[in-house]
Symmetry: C2
Subunit: 340 residues, 2 copies
Amino acid sequence: MTLTAAHPGRNPVTRKDVARYAGVSTAVVSYVVNSGPKKVAPATEARVLEAIRVLGYRPNAAARALKLGSTEMLGLVIPDNTNTFFAELSHAIEDAANELGYALLLTNSNSTVAKERKHVRNLLSRQVDGLLLASVESDPHLEQVVEAGIPTVLLNRYEPAEGFASIGVDLTQGAVAAVEHLIGHGHTNIGLVVGTGSQESMDGREDGWLMALKKAHLPEGPMMRVPFTLQGGYSAGIRLVASHQRPTAIFVSSDMQAIGVLRALHEADLRVPEDVAVVSFDGSPDSEYSWPALTSIRQPIHAMAEAAVRTLLDPMAAAEHTIFPTEMVIRQSCGCASVR
Amino acid sequence: MTLTAAHPGRNPVTRKDVARYAGVSTAVVSYVVNSGPKKVAPATEARVLEAIRVLGYRPNAAARALKLGSTEMLGLVIPDNTNTFFAELSHAIEDAANELGYALLLTNSNSTVAKERKHVRNLLSRQVDGLLLASVESDPHLEQVVEAGIPTVLLNRYEPAEGFASIGVDLTQGAVAAVEHLIGHGHTNIGLVVGTGSQESMDGREDGWLMALKKAHLPEGPMMRVPFTLQGGYSAGIRLVASHQRPTAIFVSSDMQAIGVLRALHEADLRVPEDVAVVSFDGSPDSEYSWPALTSIRQPIHAMAEAAVRTLLDPMAAAEHTIFPTEMVIRQSCGCASVR
DNA sequence: ATGAAAGCGCTAACAC
DNA sequence: GTGTTAGCGCTTTCAT
C-alpha cells in the first residue's frame, strides 16, 4: 500500500454495513443513495445519510454497472492529445460528458490503425456506454462496434459514414473562405499545406483551395502533403521556400502546421505577411500567440463536442452526419493589419 | 440506438452462452479466457476459442471488476490537458498505464479546487486501482483518498507530501541553471515570470532565480506572477516591457508563458535575444517552434510518467518523494546562437 | 481436466 | 414506507 495501512485493501464498507448501522434494509439505503425509485421517510433518510457519513461509505460503481448494464463511462479515441486541436476537443468533450454524469476513458491512437483498433476493442470490453472516435482511417473498420451495438459517433469527420452518426466541420467552405481572403489581398500564387494520414481520400480543405483558385481563374500553387504536426509544417515550409516558384501566400490546413511553416519562413528571412502571407485552420489559442498572430479558420470546438455527446447519448438520434460552419478570425498573418 | 438495431441492447453474449456452445462449463471458459488458473486440454480450448469467435463474445469488465475488486483503471487528475506540458504528461502516463494493462480515466480540474475534489471523489467511487493527481493545491485535502485506501501518487510536485508518494522535477536546480546561463551571457538585470495558482508556497523556480542572482551578487530583477498560460505570459511580458527598469533577460517558468512573453516582446519591437534574452522551462515541442526558438529547461516527462505509474502500481513502493533532474536545451532565445 | 456453486455489491420488483 | 430477494457476469475453491 502506497499510503496508510489503516485500510488494508479496497474500501470494505458496503451497502450492507450502512444498512446495519442505520437499522434499515439494504433496499432503503439504495433508495436514499439514488434518490429513488421509492420514497423514504425523512427521519429514515437522515439516519441513512448519517450512517454513510460515519462509515465513509462509497457506492461501488462496478457493482452498479454490472446490475444496470451501464457504466456511465464514455470512450474517446483520438489520434493525439498532444495536438492542440484534439487537446481542446477532448477537453470540451470531457466537460460535456461530465455535465451528464459520464466519465471519460481517453485514449490516443498515435495516428495508428493498430492502436486505434486495440483501443476500441478495449473500450468495448470495458462496457462504455458510448464511443467517440476520431479515426485515423477514412473508412474505419467498425464491425466490432456494430456487433457490440454500442452507440458511436465519429468525430472530426468531413464525409458521412454509412450507418454511423458523425460530426465535422465544413472543411471546404472554410478553405474557400481562407483562399478567397488571400485572393482578395491580391495574391495570385497561393500554396497549400495539407495533412496526411488522417484520411486517404482528399481532404475537403484541398478541395476548397482548388475551388477558390479555379473560380478566380488562378493557377494551382505548390502543394505539400505533410503530417498534422509542428514538424510536418516546418518541413513543408522549408520545401515551399525552396520551391521553384515560391508562393506569396500559403493556406495551411492546421494551426500546428502553420506554426511550423512560420518557423521555416522566419529562418529564410522572409517577412510574414509582407513576403509571404499565411492563413491557417483551426483557430486554436496557439494561433493567437504565434509571431505574427495567425489569421485562421476557427472550428466551433465546443459546439461540436456538445453535439457529439448529445447525439451519442440520445437514443432517438439518427445515424446522421452533422456539419458545422467555420468562422474566419482575422489577425496579422494574412496582411490585413500591419505587423508592427 | 445510434446504429444497427440488430443487437437491441448491450452485448448479450455471456460466458454462459459460450460454455453452452462449446459444450463445457463456464469455469472452463474462464480458464481459457484468462489463460488460467487451471490448465485446459488443447482440444477443449480450441472449441472454446471457436465459440468465442462465432458468438462474438467479449468479457464483461464490470463483472470482472466486481468479482476481482480491481477495475484495471487508473484515474488521472490534471489542471488542464490543453496546457502542452500536461498534454504530454498525460499522454506519457496513458502509454505507461496501457503497457501494464490499465486504462486511464482522464479528468481536468481546470485549476479549480472544487472540480479537483469532485473528480477525485468520482474516480474513487469508480473504483480506480490507483490515482495520479497533479493537484492545484500545495497541500491537497486527501482524506477521502486516505480513507479509501487507494494507492496514490502526486504529480508535478516539488515538495514532498506527508504520507504520499510524489514525483517532480528539480525546479530550483533547473532555474539556477537557467539564470546562471543568462548571467554567463553578461546580463545583470534578469527578470522572472513565475506561475500562480498551482501552489501557494513559493515556487522552486523562484528560489532558483533568487539563489543564482544572490550568488552572482546581482540585484533582483522585476518579477511577475501570472497563470501558467499563453495569456498569462503575454500580460506579464507587457508589464515587463513597460516596467521602469526593463530587464535585458527574463527567466520564464513555463514554455506556454514564454510564448506569451515573446509575443509581448515582439509587439514592443524588441528583438530576442539582442534586446531581451529569454530562457524558459519545460522543454516542450512548442518551445522549439516559437520565434525565436526557446532555450528551455527540459523536464524528463516520459521518465516521470513511467516512474509515476510504476510507483503507483508497486505494492512495495514507499511513500517517497522522487525528484528528477532537468536538462537545459540551448536554442536561440538566450543569445547563444545568432537568431538568423 | 472439468464442473458446480458461492458470492463480489448493487438494484428493483414484489411482498408486506 | 420498508424489507426480502433474485440475479447482473464473472472467478475460483472444492469436488469429481
